[in-house]
Amino acid sequence: MRYSRLTWEHFSNASSAGVLTGTDVARAAAGSAADGTWVQFDIRAKRRGFAAALIIEARFQAFGCPHTIAVADWLAGRAAGRSAELRLPEPVGALQQLFGMPVEKLGRLFVLEDAWVGAVQALLKKQENA
């Protein structure tokens, strides 16, 4: 298996791996290690008036193949400064292309999407309740 440069960089550095703590952190996970792919995102954001929340930082944990870890790292690393939306910043198909993932691995991107959207959802809920 050969990996694209982008995949390899994010897999081998994985600088956004980890967890966030604090009451303002939203967390969601999807998948399971038993099924081969598990991803968790932690997101911290600040409220921007009535507009959508603005992400300050994000971290991930993942049990998964190099592509899974790379995409999770990429998502978490680029999150800061973006508004929290209930979708991935790039559609699944675009991510697959960007990272040169084999089609058989598409399912893993859906796990990533579930975890990401789940975390944003949790964040928005948290802010609503706040």
Binding site: M1, Y3, F11, S12, A14, A17, V19, A29, G31, S32, A33, A34, G36, T37, W38, Q40, Q61, A62, F63, G64, C65, P66, T68, I69, E104
Partner: protein
């Protein structure tokens, strides 16, 4: 780029320089390039002498007679010839064969093909140690069983089968011939075809520091084993396997087998110590499971499952430092979890998170230490990335 340390000797081995030297000499020879089938001139005679000499040396190194040796293009062909050749020849005596789920694909796939053609195949499942007990074979024998095909050394976990005990069971059964895939045996366990009680045995050169693309099927003449040919033409190999023979390949195989049997005792010791060092280093990580026992396996192989680590990520993490395999080389291009480890009772998840370390003639202590470091770092890092939750999930 510096190459990673090679630890995949069960997939293939480098050609020993002494083997390469013999082959090179023949490839460059001014008088040994004839066709061994050319009986009308000296070039053919010399080529044919090379073939005879190789036959004698290979036979001697595995306890066979020269008449037992049928050259092939490798163990895949040898297995196919044994399985299809014997079943075709004895088809009127029965249509049942016995093999195991942990065989190499080159045995499993021919058996599947026979099933497709209407044969009954009993697929034995070894115990958690990988051993197929002679009792299991005995229980599986039926009146119309004509072939039992079981390997001697497994290519994924290195477990050594007691093929003599299995041969003894087959000997009680009138008509059940025993085929032993010994592709992984040479240089790792002593091989004595004559004494083994096996009827047929498959060999391959490239697992024992010989060239790729050459092997042999041993067909016991003393035991009167017969089989139908599958490749027809010039009538080479007494009609059992037509096709121009390649003296440089056969001489390479003969040199490799001779060296392997000479160096076996010393190498078993040396490599055994390296394997203990490797296992100790890996075991220290915690959460590692050994597939195969210290005693019942060849020292060249160590197969380990790593808990809480995803297999592909593990392999990718170590790949710049060590060259290992996560399954049989022949199947590792597919991403299925190893069927051998699954047959031994490992979960799909653990089977996928396993590495096969193949040690060999050119493996040294520093290589082992590099492996321990590489795997240790990767496992720790990946466990950190996955956090606690992975286990819980």
């Amino acid at each position: 780029m510096t190459m990673p340390v090679y630890l995949d000797s069960a997939a293939t081995t480098p050609t020993d320089p002494r083997v390469a030297a013999v082959m090179t000499r023949i490839l460059r020879s001014a008088d040994e390039y004839g066709n061994p089938a050319s009986s009308t001139h000296e070039y053919g005679d010399r080529a044919s002498e090379l073939v005879d000499a190789a036959r004698e040396r290979v036979a001697a190194s595995v306890g066979a007679t020269t008449a037992d040796v049928v050259w092939t293009s490798g163990a895949t062909e040898a297995n196919n010839l044994a399985i299809f050749g014997v079943t075709a020849y004895y088809a009127n005596q029965g249509r049942h064969i016995i093999t195991a789920r942990t065989e190499h694909k080159a045995v499993i796939d021919p058996c599947w093909e026979l099933e497709r053609r209407g044969w009954r195949v009993t697929w034995l499942i070894p115990g958690p140690d990988g051993i197929v007990a002679a009792d299991q074979v005995e229980a599986a024998l039926e009146d119309d069983t004509i072939l039992v095909s079981l390997m001697q050394v497994n290519n994924e976990i290195g477990v050594i089968q007691d093929t003599r005990a299995i041969a003894a069971v087959c000997a009680q059964h009138d008509g059940a011939r025993l085929h032993v895939d010994a592709a992984q045996s040479i240089g790792k366990v002593p091989v004595d075809f004559g004494a083994s009680g096996a009827d047929l045995m498959s060999l391959s050169a490239h697992k024992a520091y010989g060239p790729k693309g050459v092997g042999a099927l041993l067909v016991s003449q003393r035991r009167g084993v017969r089989l139908e040919a599958r490749q027809f033409g010039g009538g080479q190999e007494r009609g059992l396997r037509s096709g121009t023979l390649a003296p440089h390949q056969l001489a390479g195989m003969a040199t490799a087998f001779t060296l392997a049997s000479q160096e076996l005792p010393k190498e078993a010791q040396r490599i055994g110590a390296l394997r203990r060092r490797l296992w100790d280093g890996l075991a220290a990580l915690g959460g590692v499971l050994r597939n195969g026992t210290e005693q019942g396996t060849v020292p060249q192989l160590l197969n380990v499952s790593f808990e809480d680590v995803e297999g592909e990520a593990l392999l990718a993490s170590v790949s710049e430092l060590i060259a290992v395999s996560s399954g049989s080389a022949c199947t590792s291009s597919s991403n299925e979890p190893s069927y051998v480890l699954r047959a031994l009772g490992r979960s799909d998840r653990l089977a996928e998170s396993s590495l096969r370390f193949g040690l060999g003639r050119f493996t040294h202590e520093a290589d082992i230490d590099q492996a321990i470091t590489a795997v240790g770092n990767a496992v720790k890092r990946l466990r950190k990335i996955s956090g606690q939750c992975a286990t819980a999930a």
